[in-house]
């Protein structure tokens, strides 16, 4: 009986090729501009499924500036309605790049010496180009607490993780450490597999399954990543946080956990959910041992990435903000894929 249910679910998922169609637009909020969208225009391009979030603003010359995103999430701005349809169709075929300023916009700015009008025009282009629109940054109401945890993690790294990992690095050669990492990565297969399914990425789920089988049997319990080396099968990194993001859940607020590091509200929920899928939680049930295993995994991983955190601190004016934003951008890009 349960096999029928499973088959039904798989069939359903197969037909729902894109969660976006079912649940609407994923986490892309509309631009923070006045939305006086011409109804007739929206109707005329409704058939283009990649049209999204078209917003209109007066350009100061009695015309309109159209802001829109193509299916790749790239923003466009134009004075010319027809460009939208053309561009969206093009976006379906090829990816487009972000335009900082359309040619119409340049002309508009030059023509208008009047300061108030050009303010608005300049506002539009700059706003478009780089503004900190709400959806472009992650909100951080818990900043004092997060900064404190960031500081704690910083000390933890320099006083504990780095020395231990460095010592470990001297004793254990790199291939062994990479193999250990591969083992843990392989063991987390159920998380990736199930989340691929939840996102209706059936092919990717299949790829993950084949990776798991190859690595477990040919690659000796996952120690050797044969799937990548011999067969060039790519990793499909999915987790519950990404799944929730694909279904439209925004990141929420930024939370910087002690020890665990940067996360968001959504991703924390994801971590908790994924913990149910992590086989290590079932194989090593006693909390005392589980902590040791997790710690070992952490030390092993750190030994392979010593220097990265130092580089971040060296490159950033404010490492806390840099980490927060990098985390946010990284998760956004993972969800888009």
């Amino acid at each position: 009986m349960r096999y029928i249910y499973i088959t039904l679910i798989f069939t359903m998922l197969w037909f729902i090729q894109s969660p976006v169609l079912v649940f609407g637009q994923s986490s892309k909020a509309s631009p923070s501009v006045e939305t006086m969208t011409p109804k007739s225009y929206k109707m005329s391009i409704a058939h283009l499924k990649s049209a999204s979030d078209i917003a209109v603003k007066h350009d100061g010359f009695g015309g309109y500036l159209y802001y829109y995103r193509d299916s790749w999430g790239n923003k466009h701005i134009t004075n010319n309605i027809d460009h939208i349809a053309q561009n969206l169709q093009k976006a379906d075929a090829t990816e487009s790049v972000m335009h900082a300023k359309g040619p119409d916009q340049d002309a508009a700015e030059k023509k208008q010496p009047d300061s108030s009008r050009s303010e608005e025009a300049e506002d539009s282009s700059e706003e478009f180009m780089n503004a900190d629109k709400p959806e472009e940054i992650i909100s951080d109401p818990l900043e004092p607490m997060n900064r404190a945890f960031f500081h704690f993690n910083d000390k933890l790294y320099f006083w504990f993780l780095k020395p231990v990992a460095s010592g470990y690095k001297v004793v254990v050669p790199q291939p062994v450490r990479v193999s250990v990492r591969n083992f843990f990565y392989n063991a987390a297969f159920p998380v990736r597999f199930v989340n691929c399914l939840f996102q209706a990425k059936i092919e990717d789920a299949g790829v993950e399954l084949s990776r798991f089988l190859v690595n477990t049997f040919v690659g000796v319990a996952g120690f050797f990543d044969m799937a990548t080396k011999k067969f060039n099968i790519k990793r499909q990194e999915e987790d519950l946080g990404q799944t929730l993001g694909t279904y439209g859940m925004g990141p929420g607020i930024y939370i910087n956990w002690p020890i665990l590091g940067p996360s968001s509200l959504r991703d924390t929920v994801g971590l908790v959910g994924d913990a149910f899928l992590d086989p290590l939680n079932y194989i090593v049930p006693r909390t005392k041992y589980r902590m040791s295993v997790n710690t070992y995994e952490g030390i092993n991983k750190t030994s392979l990435t010593i220097g990265d955190y130092e580089d971040l601190k060296r490159a950033a004016l404010d490492p806390y903000v840099a980490t927060r934003d990098a985390y946010f951008q990284y998760r956004q890009s993972r969800i888009k894929e």
Partner: protein, 200 residues
């Protein structure tokens, strides 16, 4: 995914053994390859491998980087809405300083380069803008995506943004700068930038 790992990727701008897919290579890709190859040549030059030539080598690499990366474009996008509030004089000070900071981040890594493979996988051009996608294979068998965003200026392609694993450098600095600028002043930002660069 370990966030710290992402910052290892700052070295990956200048790497060798590029696989060229002839069908794909267009102007932006070629432009990047040009600079990359030059830098590799500098790194591999036996005459410059001597330690006392290190400063000269750095200078040569820096020159190549300055030609490909347009620091003014970087600065403008990194300051965003604060850009037009700065005077020309402030801009003149800011741009080279910011350029130095970004360069320095890569310079150390470039010199530690050890044979990572680089694949130029994709290129998109639309009008005067282009994106070049590059995949880098590390020695730990990982694949990282690096995107260069280019703009055509006066016939020449220049880079105005780099995204490593989806994290755009310009965006990252923009959030940092904005945070500093709304809490203090441009002077304070310049001071911090200055200190940072000098702390070499």
């Amino acid at each position: 995914m370990n966030i710290k790992y992402l910052y290892q990727l700052s070295l990956l701008l200048f790497l060798t053994l590029t696989f060229i897919d002839p069908a794909m290579a267009g102007d932006p890709t070629n432009r990047i390859k040009q600079t990359t190859d030059k830098i590799i040549a500098i790194l591999n030059d036996p005459a410059l491998k001597v330690p006392d030539k290190a400063a000269e080598r750095r200078k040569m690499i820096r020159k190549e980087v300055d030609e490909l990366f347009d620091w003014e474009e970087f600065s403008q996008r990194a300051l965003a809405r604060h850009w037009r509030k700065t005077t020309d004089k402030e801009k003149k000070e800011f741009i080279p300083l910011f350029g130095k900071l970004v360069e320095r981040t890569y310079m150390d890594k470039v010199e530690n380069y050890s044979g990572e493979r680089v694949l130029y996988t994709d290129e998109k051009i639309e009008g005067n803008y282009g994106v070049v996608n590059v995949k880098v294979m590390t020695d730990k068998n990982e694949e990282i995506n690096v995107d260069y965003r280019l703009k055509k200026r006066g016939g020449e392609w220049i880079v105005y943004d780099v995204s490593i694993a989806g994290v755009s450098l310009v965006n990252n600095y923009r959030v940092q700068f904005n945070d500093i600028l709304i809490r203090s002043s441009f002077k304070e930002l310049m001071k911090r930038l200055q200190e940072k660069v000098e702390k070499d």
